[in-house]
Symmetry: C2
C-alpha cells in the first residue's frame, strides 16, 4: 500500500493530489491514505500537506523501494519485471529469504533486497554488518544451464559487475578485485560476494549470489576488527553520500549484461574483464586451502576461473579454492 | 521400542525370554512388550509364544532394521555408528528426509533407509517405483572437502560401489555401468543413482547420494513403460529372492571403501574400477545435452569423470553432462 501511495504522489508531482482522489483510486479509506503518508514521512519522504489541496511530494530519500530504482532498469533477465523484485525493510538475511523463494520455484532473475539485515552473513558464516540504508544488501537467483564446475565463473562475473557499477557511478574511486571476488578500494573491502548453489553433478538447479556493498557507512560504525580491512563508498568518496538507488540499478544492469554474455559467449570475455580489474595478478601471494599453503606469484586466471600461481621453482599450480593474501600486507 | 524388543529376542535366541524379563530390562509394561511382539510378527518375524516360557525368535524376515544389517558392518565413515542410521518403514522420499537432516547439521556418513517410498524420485523428477521391501531405497550424506567440480566423480564412485556389491553377493549376475552411473544387467536398469549437492563455488557443503536398487521385484510389478528397460536382481537371479540385508551391508561397505580411497588417493583408482565395469566404452553412442546431439564412439572417461566421445572426423569431445544411448538399441 505504501508503494501504491508513493506511486500516485510521484505521478502527480510536482502537483498536489487530494486524499479523496487517492482513496478513490486505491479503494481504501482516507484514513488509510493518511496513515501511509505518515509512514512515508517517517521513511524520510518530504511530503507537503495542505488541508485544501491534499499531498505533494517534495523530496525522496535514498531508499530502495522498487519504484525508486527499477523504473528505468534496462535488464532482460535480472529484476526484469516488477514481480521479480522482493523488497523488505528488514530481514534476518536476504540469503534465507531467497532460498525459500528458490525452493518454491521462483523464476530466474528473482532478487531480494533489504534496507537492513539483522543476521547478515558473509563467507564461513562470519557476520556481515548490514545497517539500515547503509548499503546494498542484495541476493540474485539464477538458474543457468551450466554444470557445478562452471560456478566459479559466476562468482568472478559478479565481482566484475559490481566493480564496473561502482566505477560507472564514481569514476574516481578505484575499485579493484582480489581473487576470486572481493571488491576492494585502496586495499580495503567495500563489497563481499557469496555464491551458493544447489545442483546435481551435471546440472545446476539454482545459484544464489549475495552481494553486500558498503555504501553510506561512516568509519566509526565498523567494528574494531574491521577498521583496517573494510571501507565504504561514502568514505572513499571524500565523505559524500552515494546514491544507493543509482548503484543498485547499475549493479543489476551490469550483472544482467555479463550474465547474458557468459551464457552466449562463454567464459573468456568475463575473464578478460576480470583481469582488467584484478589487483591480485602480478603480485606475490600466499594461498591457503584445505590441503596446504603455497607461496608464489599470481600469474594468471585460467578458463575455469582458477588462480594460477607460479612457485619459486617455476612450478605453476591452478587453485580452484583458497584464501589469498598479498605478501607483506597481511591482506 | 520394536528394535529393542528385537535386540533382546536375538540376544536370547534360540532360547526363550519371558515377558517379565523383557518388561523389566526395558522398563515398560508387559502389555507394551506383548504389543511390540505383535508388531514384529506382523512384519514377518516368526516368534514362538509360550505361556510359561515367554517368547522365542524362530525366523527373521528380510527387513532392514539396522540390527539386521549393521551389526557386523565394517565401515569407518558411512553408517559407522548406530546413530548415523535413520531407518523408516515408509517415507515420502529418502531424499526429503536426508535433506532435512543435512540442513540441521547431521554428520557425514548419515544414511536414511526406508522399506517403502510413496513418492520416490529419480532423475528429472521422474517417479521411482519403491514398493515395501522390494528394494534398497537409500540415501547417504557426505561432506567431502572437495569443490563442486569434483562431484561427478562421487557419482561414478557410487555406481562402482553398487556394481561391486551386487557382484560380491551374486557373482553370476553381470552388473555393468552405463555412463555416468546407471547400473544395468543384460541392458536393463537395476539401480539408479541420484546425487545432489549444496555448495559454494569452491567448497561443497554437503552431497546426498540416493541409491535405488530393484531387488525382489517381480516382472509383473513394473509399470508397462518400464517392462523393457528395468529389471530386478530377483529376475536376474532366476526368480530367487535376494537378501536385501546382505546387499545393503555390501553397498555401504563398498561405498565406504571407495569414498575413503578417493579422499586419500584421488580419482584415478575409482576411474580404473569404473572402466572395468563400463558397458559404454568402446560402443557407438549418441550423446544429447542441453546444447546439441553428438554421435561417435565412447573412447574414454577423463580424470574429471567426463565421457570422451570420438566423432567420425576423429574429433574428441569431453562431455561432463548428457544422456547417452547406445546406437541401434535405443537404450
Amino acid at each position: 500500500m505504501r508503494e501504491k501511495i508513493l506511486a500516485l504522489l510521484k505521478e502527480k508531482s510536482p502537483s498536489f493530489v487530494s486524499g479523496a482522489e487517492m482513496a478513490g483510486r486505491l479503494s481504501v479509506s482516507r484514513t488509510a491514505v493518511w496513515k501511509n503518508v505518515n509512514l512515508l514521512q517517517a521513511d524520510g519522504y518530504r511530503i507537503e500537506r495542505s488541508p485544501r489541496l491534499g499531498y505533494r511530494l517534495q523530496e525522496v530519500p535514498d531508499l530502495l523501494y522498487p519504484l525508486e530504482f527499477a523504473g528505468d532498469l534496462e535488464t532482460k533477465i535480472i529484476a526484469a519485471e516488477r514481480r521479480l523484485i522482493h523488497y523488505h525493510r528488514q530481514v534476518d538475511s536476504t540469503a534465507e529469504v531467497i532460498k525459500k523463494l528458490a525452493e518454491k520455484g521462483a523464476p530466474e532473475g528473482t532478487i531480494v533486497l533489504a534496507e537492513e539485515q539483522t543476521g547478515g552473513r558473509g563467507r564461513m558464516g562470519r557476520s556481515w554488518y548490514s545497517p539500515f540504508a547503509g548499503g546494498i544488501w542484495l541476493h540474485i537467483l539464477l538458474r543457468p544451464p551450466l554444470t557445478p564446475a562452471q560456478t566459479p565463473l559466476l562468482t568472478l562475473l559478479a565481482s566484475v559487475a559490481v566493480t564496473k557499477a561502482i566505477r560507472r557511478l564514481l569514476p574516481h574511486v578505484e575499485a579493484g578485485i582480489k581473487w576470486p571476488n572481493d571488491v576492494l578500494v585502496r586495499g580495503r573491502k567495500v563489497c563481499g560476494i557469496l555464491t551458493e548453489l544447489k545442483a546435481e553433478p551435471d546440472i545446476i538447479h539454482y545459484v544464489i549470489t549475495g552481494i553486500g556493498i558498503n555504501v553510506n557507512i561512516d568509519a566509526g560504525k565498523f567494528r574494531t576488527e574491521l577498521k583496517d580491512t573494510a571501507t565504504s563508498l561514502y568514505l572513499e568518496n571524500k565523505n559524500n553520500r552515494v546514491s544507493r538507488q543509482k548503484l543498485t540499478a547499475f549493479v543489476l544492469e551490469e550483472m544482467d549484461t555479463f550474465y547474458r554474455q557468459y551464457l552466449s559467449a562463454g567464459s573468456l570475455p568475463v575473464i578478460e574483464e576480470w583481469k582488467k580489474y584484478s589487483i591480485t595478478l602480478g603480485e606475490e601471494v600466499t594461498i591457503k586451502n584445505v590441503l596446504d599453503v603455497f607461496w608464489g606469484k599470481a600469474v594468471d586466471v585460467d578458463s575455469s576461473g582458477a588462480l594460477v600461481v607460479e612457485g619459486k621453482n617455476g612450478l605453476r599450480r591452478h587453485f580452484q579454492a583458497g584464501e589469498v593474501t598479498l605478501r607483506g600486507t597481511g591482506r
